[in-house]
């Protein structure tokens, strides 16, 4: 906690635009924001965001009715292999927002609330690529990664078979948590499913605190 606070103070000092000072205010409520991006590829240095969905989580409620759904104007042509995954063709994106404008909406939506995501590091890196030139700093928000939460709860090294990797794929986590699959693979559905994982993992964690280890079945 101490180091976190020092880091925050340091970032705040380096913030270029005072307009975004609210990113360092105490969170306005107990909500957290879960978000997911669809991108042109997997390299944060080269690739860019195509669409982004962010959903607020309030306790055990997932506020889909207040969700943020942004489509970005492409900086480069989208490659065929990623089109297959998210089904957003170039022509679907021509009406998107300018990246700076989209980033602005995202920052307004998130404010100083903690962020939640699946392999959040990647999504945050993608967003940082956009906001670093604007703010001079990366996203300062607290971050919770689903795969870490999941590992904390379910990974028991002494039970893990040798030569087998603990499966942290999105699919594996969803199945283990017995959550319903939503049809199309897009930013909104992925964010929604991640949000469900978060709500359920938090619930399991609370039980674990009360009753001890979670049973494996």
């Amino acid at each position: 906690m101490f180091w976190q606070r020092i880091h925050q103070a340091w970032l705040k000092k380096r913030l270029k635009t005072p307009q975004y000072a609210h990113l360092f205010d105490p969170p306005p409520d107990d909500d957290v924001v879960c978000f997911d991006c669809e991108t042109t590829g997997l390299d944060p240095k080269k690739d860019s965001i195509i669409s982004l969905s962010a959903i607020k989580i309030r306790g055990h409620e997932i506020c889909t009715s207040e969700s943020l759904n942004l489509t970005f104007r492409p900086e480069q042509t989208v490659q065929g292999d990623s089109i297959v995954i998210h089904r957003l063709r170039n022509m679907d994106l021509s009406e998107g927002l300018a990246p700076e404008e989209a980033a602005h909406w995202f920052l307004r939506f998130v404010g100083s609330r903690p962020l939640v995501g699946y392999y959040l590091e990647f999504d945050v890196a993608m967003v940082n690529r956009l906001i670093r030139p604007m703010l001079g700093i990366p996203l300062p928000n607290r971050q919770t990664d689903i795969s870490e939460l999941y590992t904390d709860l379910f990974h028991q090294p002494w039970l893990q078979p040798e030569h087998e990797v603990f499966d942290l794929s999105f699919q594996a986590i969803r199945e283990r948590l017995e959550l319903p699959g939503l049809g199309q693979h897009d930013a909104f559905n992925d964010a929604l499913m991640t949000a469900m994982m978060y709500v359920k993992l938090r619930h399991l964690k609370a039980i674990k605190k009360e009753k001890g280890p979670v049973s494996l079945t």
């Binding site: 997932i62 207040e66 469900m196």
Partner: protein, 609 residues
């Protein structure tokens, strides 16, 4: 911006499937997703948590606040719950997640807007059971392609109506027919209304030495067979086959409108029902009849899928089954040795309520002068052939092949009195079965005489009917104090729908029909007559009829399903297989059954027995 998945989900939830695109999007935009761990109570009230919930995954129970042990509702995937708490201030209900549940949550304000903007949506929540049920059928029917059979006679092309006096000469009559391009005309003759056709006139002129001036009245057939223009087309076909005529005169109330010809009628039936009739009409061998049976089965499955009311399917199928059995009789009795024997079907077949052939209940009444020699052998043969055609034998051996059910008129009367004099459970059952009998072939008067004797016995013995009616309450209605379905503890949570609902209604109505000397045997027709006689109100009669129809529909669907899977057909339905809407209707239907049991108990003062 509503996403496609949410919209697709919503269209699978009753009654959201009735919303138009704009309304769907409005609902989808307002949805939140909520998670409830197992056993969590789900907040729902008009004040702080006014929401309608739609289950994405999981199961939720609905209980009364006063008694949480009695569950009155169960909601699974694609079910919406909470409406009763939102719409009825007096409903004190508690909702609990039986297993972990993920659900959509719709704010009450949006739900209310939808209720105001869409009538069909609103109707789902505010209509009483009768309206709900007929809407259920209408919906099924709308989903099906148009089935001419269920159209009214008024849509059929009619020939012009020509009316002449019986004294009119043949020549004048033919001129009139020629002018109107028709081949039949209605004849008014000595206060009677008949019909004369072109071929009647031809026969008169060519074979019976009438001349052109002879009055047509003597060649006409009386009375003319008519049908109301509001009646179903398939009833027209049934009437034609039953009376063996090619034409029906269509009327609007008492006013005659025109002539319906079989040719035109058949052209409207570009489907199986017409085909079955024709195959049956032309059948000449036992194998032909076998083919008809297969066609009937296909017809039943087809009509059931199309949402045609089970009552109508039953009527059609039973008419076909009777024609088939009559045909079988004449095929087997080639030289007409037993032409003067009356063959009747009884029980569910007699009431025209058997759709899937479950068992045969039949009997024979033969004239006193006929000797029984050879008849028994013929009856056994007939019975064997019937079994071969797919009419399973009666487990209680109530069949014409049993000497007990193959009697002369005199023997029948003795038997009847014996059943009354020496009451037993078997005797009661036999009387119930016999009272529902209908003639398939042979002299109909014999059965009428027998029923007259039965009525006289009933009227002579005031204690009989109350005892007879006792079995209406013999089986518990499978519904709990708080409206929960009581199911078996087997895998599918099944319910015996015959014991639970169908038998009490059928038998209760039978008792009232016995008392009121009501002649029709079909339960729906008996209900109609009882309503006319003021035994119960119009509204209750309709509700009872619709309830019976719904229970029969569930049973038929379960039977067809089992038949398709090659399982034994029985009266159980698995409640797990029912949609939430059907479960709701089933509960309401059992509520009506209980109400009816009370009516019977009060009517026959059963508390004294």
């Amino acid at each position: 911006m509503a996403d496609q998945d949410t919209l697709a989900y919503l269209t699978q939830v009753l009654p959201f499937d009735r919303l138009n695109e704009t309304e769907l999007a409005q609902a989808a935009d307002a949805l939140d997703v909520v998670y409830f761990p197992q056993d969590a109570q789900i907040p729902l009230n008009r004040q702080g948590s006014a929401y309608l919930y739609l289950v994405i995954k999981g199961r939720v129970s609905e209980c009364h606040q006063s008694d949480e042990s009695a569950q009155c509702g169960l909601y699974g995937v694609h079910a919406a719950f909470g409406a009763s708490s939102l719409l009825d201030q007096n409903a004190h209900l508690v909702y609990r997640a039986l297993e972990e549940t993920v659900a959509y949550r719709l704010p009450f304000s949006v739900f209310e807007t939808l209720l105001h903007s869409n009538n069909a949506f609103e109707a789902f929540y505010f209509h009483d059971i009768t309206q709900k049920l007929s809407q259920f059928h209408r919906q099924l029917q709308e989903e099906s392609s148009s089935e001419a059979m269920m159209d009214a006679v008024s849509i059929a092309p009619l020939h012009a109506l020509i009316e002449v006096n019986g004294a009119t000469g043949i020549q004048a009559c033919v001129e009139k027919m020629q002018a109107q391009q028709s081949d039949a005309c209605v004849v008014h003759h000595h206060d009677q209304v008949g019909i004369v056709t072109a071929s009647d006139l031809l026969r008169g002129l060519a074979l019976e030495s009438f001349d052109l001036q002879s009055p047509v009245g003597e060649l006409a057939t009386f009375p003319v067979i008519t049908i109301n223009q509001g009646d179903f087309l398939f009833n027209a076909l049934l009437k034609m086959t039953r009376y063996g005529v090619d034409r029906l005169v269509v009327r609007d109330g008492q006013t005659l409108k025109g002539v319906l010809h079989q040719k035109e009628l058949m052209s409207l039936f570009a489907n199986q029902s017409g085909l079955v009739m024709l195959t049956l009409e032309r059948a000449e061998t036992f194998d032909d009849l076998k083919q008809v049976v297969t066609q009937i089965d296909q017809l039943v499955a087809g009509l059931s899928n199309k949402g045609v009311k089970t009552h109508y399917i039953a009527k059609l199928v039973n008419e076909l089954h009777r024609k088939l059995q009559a045909k079988l009789w004449s095929l087997l009795d080639e030289d007409g040795r037993f032409d003067d024997v009356t063959y009747v079907v009884m029980g569910s077949e007699g009431r025209s309520e058997q759709v899937v052939r479950t068992d045969q209940d039949n009997a024979v009444i033969f004239p006193d002068h006929l000797s029984r020699d050879g008849l028994m052998a013929f009856c056994e043969h007939f019975n064997q052939k019937l079994i071969e055609l797919g009419f399973p034998p009666c487990p209680g051996n109530i069949m014409l092949s049993n000497p007990e059910w193959c009697l002369s008129e005199q023997q029948w009367r003795q038997k009847l009195i014996q059943w009354f004099d020496d009451p037993s459970e078997d005797g009661f059952m036999a009387l119930a079965i016999l009272f529902d009998a209908q003639v398939v072939r042979g002299e109909a008067q014999r059965l009428e005489d027998l029923k007259e004797a039965l009525w006289q016995q009933v009227e002579k013995r005031p204690m009989f009917l109350p005892h007879f009616a006792l079995s209406v309450s013999q089986f518990e209605t499978p519904i709990g104090l708080f409206g929960r379905l009581i199911t078996q503890k087997d895998a599918g949570h099944s319910i015996d729908i015959k014991k639970g609902g169908i038998f009490p209604i059928v038998h209760g109505i039978r008792c009232l029909a016995l008392e009121g000397r009501i002649e029709p045997t079909n339960t729906h027709w008996r209900i109609r007559k009882l309503m006319d006689a003021g035994v119960f109100s119009e509204a209750f009669g309709i509700e009872l009829g619709e309830t019976l129809n719904f229970l029969n529909t569930l049973r038929l669907q379960a039977m067809l399903h089992k038949k398709m899977q090659g399982k034994a057909v029985d009266n159980r339905i698995e409640t797990d297989e029912l949609s939430h809407f059907q479960q709701d209707l089933l509960k309401e239907a059992f509520g009506v059954v209980n109400q009816f049991k009370k009516v019977i108990e009060q009517h026959f003062k059963l508390e004294n027995y």
